[in-house]
């Protein structure tokens, strides 16, 4: 009996394996499709779907950028300086004494040092020739997240201005020439007095301000180091080099560019966002060509809406603030418009890093059309089952800030104003007969 069961089981199992290859009977005869779907494209001008455009600023701070910006009269407009604060000087080092034994020494003497600044040498950020870089010791402390051209500290109940706009004044520490052809770093030597001055507090003084002295240039400072020469007590003939690490860094710049009225601006540091309030119609009238394809007006329903794309036309940003690298654009629903500019936002409508836009699109090649997918957003707008409609969509960079450069797009009332492209599929209901 057991053997019979085993045989039966094996046979059953073998059929189960055979069942792995399942191919549904399929034909390429389109005539068997019991529907006559029509897919059409409709492009709505801003007046047909848009209500207003609002621009907000202040998202993120320059201190959050990975690279700080140095500029001197760049494009005749922009000045930018980097503020760096270093940590306390090292108090312990391992030093080999006169007998060759390595010992911990905490009684050494600093007698000099140097500052190292490393710059971004990628094509778009590299100056065309040598530039002059200066360093100065700050005389005021600064708070990196809130420091600006005129304000050193701006926190609750504590607002302190710089004695001079532009994070001044400073005590000159030195200057040096950086030739991008020779390397990516510049070294500014410090004498013992400067080292003593920078190390007279628990931190290395209020900090160092880096200036670019060569006019018409903008470059990015990747990082800075303060390196100290020390003479250890256990072996006075030896010189060791120690590091004081960076504990805060930001950059301050002038001027802050104001957006053009009605325009669309995204990016910058702090970042700009643009909120578009939509009023999508319930039905599309359509022109003669469209109405020849489908019955007009075409009612907009979530089922029919296959794709919705916001078409934006790029415009030239102010020259000093044109992005130097690709810019990424995201779109999100504004969930509580009454709380703007601090409204919570929905998830990304674009996905990933957003739509990538070449930097030239905001300069020499302005006028490009950029497509921002907003299908889910518009579908919810035309869905009667959605109770509370979210009508505001914000355009922003996926990371804020992304760079000092920002993107500009043509606003309403101008040629190239935002448009809404809809792809609709109109068809009968699937029936069982």
């Amino acid at each position: 009996m057991k053997r019979a069961w085993m045989v039966a089981g094996l046979v059953s199992a073998s059929w189960g394996l055979l069942a792995c290859e399942e191919v549904t009977p399929t034909t390429s005869d389109g005539g068997l499709i019991p529907l006559e779907p029509k897919t059409v494209q409709v492009v709505l001008p801003f007046e047909s779907f848009g209500e207003q455009i609002r621009v907000y600023s202040g998202y993120g701070t320059p201190s959050e950028l990975f690279e700080a910006v140095l500029a001197q009269d760049y494009e005749g407009v922009l000045d930018s300086r980097v503020l760096t604060r270093f940590g306390a000087y090292p108090w312990l080092a391992s030093v080999r004494d006169s007998t060759g034994t390595t010992r911990a020494d905490s009684a050494f003497t600093f007698f000099g040092g140097y500052l190292v600044a490393r710059f971004d040498t990628t094509e778009a950020n590299r100056p065309e020739g040598p530039v002059q870089v200066a360093a100065g010791g700050l005389t005021q402390t600064f708070y990196a997240p809130s420091a600006s051209w005129t304000v050193a500290v701006d926190t609750i109940n504590d607002r302190r201005l710089w004695a001079e706009p532009g994070a001044g004044p400073v005590m000159a520490l030195g200057e040096a020439e950086w030739d991008p052809e020779a390397g990516d770093s510049v070294v500014i030597e410090l004498d013992s007095a400067a080292v003593a001055m920078l190390g007279d507090t628990l931190e290395a003084g209020p900090g160092v301000r880096f200036d670019l002295l060569t006019p018409g240039v903008r470059l990015n400072l990747v990082d800075a180091d303060l390196r100290l020469y020390a003479r250890p007590n256990v072996h006075r003939d030896t010189v060791v080099t120690l590091n004081a690490g960076v504990i805060a860094q930001t950059f301050v710049y002038d001027p802050l560019p104001e957006p053009e009225a009605g325009g669309i601006r995204v990016g910058g540091a702090p970042s700009w966002r643009t909120v578009l309030t939509l009023d999508v119609p319930e039905a599309v009238e359509g022109d003669a060509a469209l109405c020849a394809l489908v019955e007009c007006p075409v009612e907009l329903t979530p089922e029919r809406l296959n794709n919705a794309t916001l078409l934006l036309t790029t415009a030239a940003s102010q020259a000093a603030f044109q992005p130097s690298d690709s810019m990424f654009l995201d779109a999100r629903a504004v969930l509580a418009p009454e709380l703007l500019p601090k409204s919570p936002l929905g998830t990304s409508l674009v996905g990933g890093l957003g739509v990538s836009i070449a930097p030239a699109s905001f300069g020499a090649e302005a006028g490009r059309v950029v497509s921002i997918p907003v299908t889910a957003f518009v579908r919810a707008l035309v869905d009667d089952s959605v109770g509370q409609k979210v009508r505001d969509v914000v355009l922003l960079t996926p990371f804020e800030p992304l760079s000092i450069g920002f993107g500009t797009f043509v606003g309403s009332g101008e040629e190239g104003a935002p448009r809404l492209r809809l792809i609709l599929t109109v068809t009968d209901t699937v029936e069982i007969r």
Partner: protein
């Protein structure tokens, strides 16, 4: 008789549940689908009518057959199909496995109680085509791929009672539900280059559940020691197709046909038997219910011969040959006479017997068939395996 083992039955049910159902024919796209016959591999090899067979006690379509069941038994079957087709210059192939039926019989003092589940109509098919479309009427062209897929079918679950009136005459009755569901989904995919950017596919469709009643009445008799005959009448109520809450399509009601089956086995010698079966279904009752296809009454017949003198691996075995000719019920204007013809060969093995009682049997059937409907032609190989286990 051994004690009932629910675990064993559970394994069987799991095995069957694990077998996916697959489309049986491209002709499933017509009417209510492609008709299925819930027959075991032995019945398939003997002409496919499944009625009037000696030793066919677990037949789903022969209500009286279970009267001769002496011990609790379960039977189930698997079928794997490999098919290819030609249609107006295009061709394709498909394959898949389904289970035609499972049947359980339990003899009681008042007769044999049966529970069966078998397929009635298959609705699995799909079509796909690609075309260029003008998106705005001004020459902005896009390429779309349209696909329409139907997935589902209709089955019958029945509770039956069969008993012998005399030594030679048996009767049986079944009552049950015709059930099932089908999803019909249209999908349009866009060539992203044609429309600018990546577009998600457009999809619309629905899902319907089928509900209806069915009942069958049958009788069987031995005529001397040389002939066994049986007949059955099956009635079905209207079949309601009810859309689910997410379906915009309308509900529908279909008239299901009444069916008459009859079959006979002639015992030509102790080891040689010949069978003949017929099946008439009044599908014209549903004519006019479909936009694209009509329906007509069908009369199918099948015949076979079985030789029981073989021995394989020391087991008593049977060799079978059969033929079936079946008009198909759902028609098109350009294909008014769709039909199926099948040659079959089979092998049966009595795996375990106890005296006169068969405790385990294994049957195989290999079919080679052809379906024609106007310019459409479909050829298939189908391998069926049935297992019958008794005395659990």
């Amino acid at each position: 008789m051994r004690a009932f083992r629910p675990g064993v039955v559970g394994v069987v049910v799991l095995l069957i549940a694990a077998a996916p159902a697959a489309g049986q024919s491209l002709l499933s796209n017509r009417g209510l689908g492609f008709p299925l016959v819930a027959t075991d591999a032995r019945g398939v090899a003997l002409g496919g009518m499944g009625i009037g067979l000696t030793g066919g006690e677990l037949s789903v379509v022969d209500p009286a057959a279970a009267a001769r069941l002496r011990i609790p038994s379960v039977g189930f079957s698997f079928q794997t199909t490999w098919a290819d087709f030609d249609q107006a210059g295009t061709s394709g192939d498909f394959s898949g496995t389904r289970f035609p039926y499972i049947s359980l019989g339990y003899p009681a003092r008042f007769g044999t109680v049966t529970v069966s589940f078998g397929g009635l109509l298959d609705q699995r098919w799909s079509t796909s085509s690609t075309e260029r479309i003008d998106l705005n009427g001004q020459g902005s062209m896009g390429v779309v791929t349209d696909e329409f897929a139907s997935d589902g079918g209709i089955s019958s679950v029945r509770l039956g009672l069969a008993r012998s009136l005399t030594d030679d005459i048996d009767v049986g009755v079944q009552i049950g539900r015709n059930i099932g569901d089908v999803s019909r989904v249209f999908t349009r995919s866009f060539d992203s280059l044609g429309v600018g950017g990546t577009l998600p596919s457009f999809q619309i469709g629905g899902r319907w559940s089928y509900r209806g009643w069915t009942a069958a009445l049958g009788a069987a008799a031995d005529v001397g020691d040389v002939l066994h005959v049986a007949a059955a009448y099956t009635w079905s109520s209207e079949l309601d197709a009810l859309p689910d809450e997410n379906t915009n399509g309308a509900p529908a009601t279909f008239s299901m046909p009444s069916e008459i089956r009859a079959g006979a086995t002639a015992i030509l010698s102790p080891r040689l038997r010949a069978t003949l079966g017929v099946h008439r279904a009044g599908w014209s009752s549903v004519d006019g219910s479909f936009e694209d296809s009509g329906a007509r009454d069908t009369f199918a017949w099948g015949t076979g011969i079985e030789w029981g003198g073989a021995s394989i691996l020391g087991k008593t075995s049977q060799l079978r040959l059969g033929y079936r000719d079946s008009p198909l019920p759902f028609t098109l204007d350009e294909a008014p006479d769709p039909a199926e013809s099948v040659f079959a060969a089979g092998l049966g093995m009595d795996l375990l017997t106890s005296g006169e009682v068969l405790l385990a049997r294994l049957d195989f059937a290999l079919e080679r068939g052809r379906r024609e409907a106007g310019a459409f032609e479909e050829r298939f190989w189908r391998l069926a395996t049935s297992v019958r286990i008794s005395g659990f």
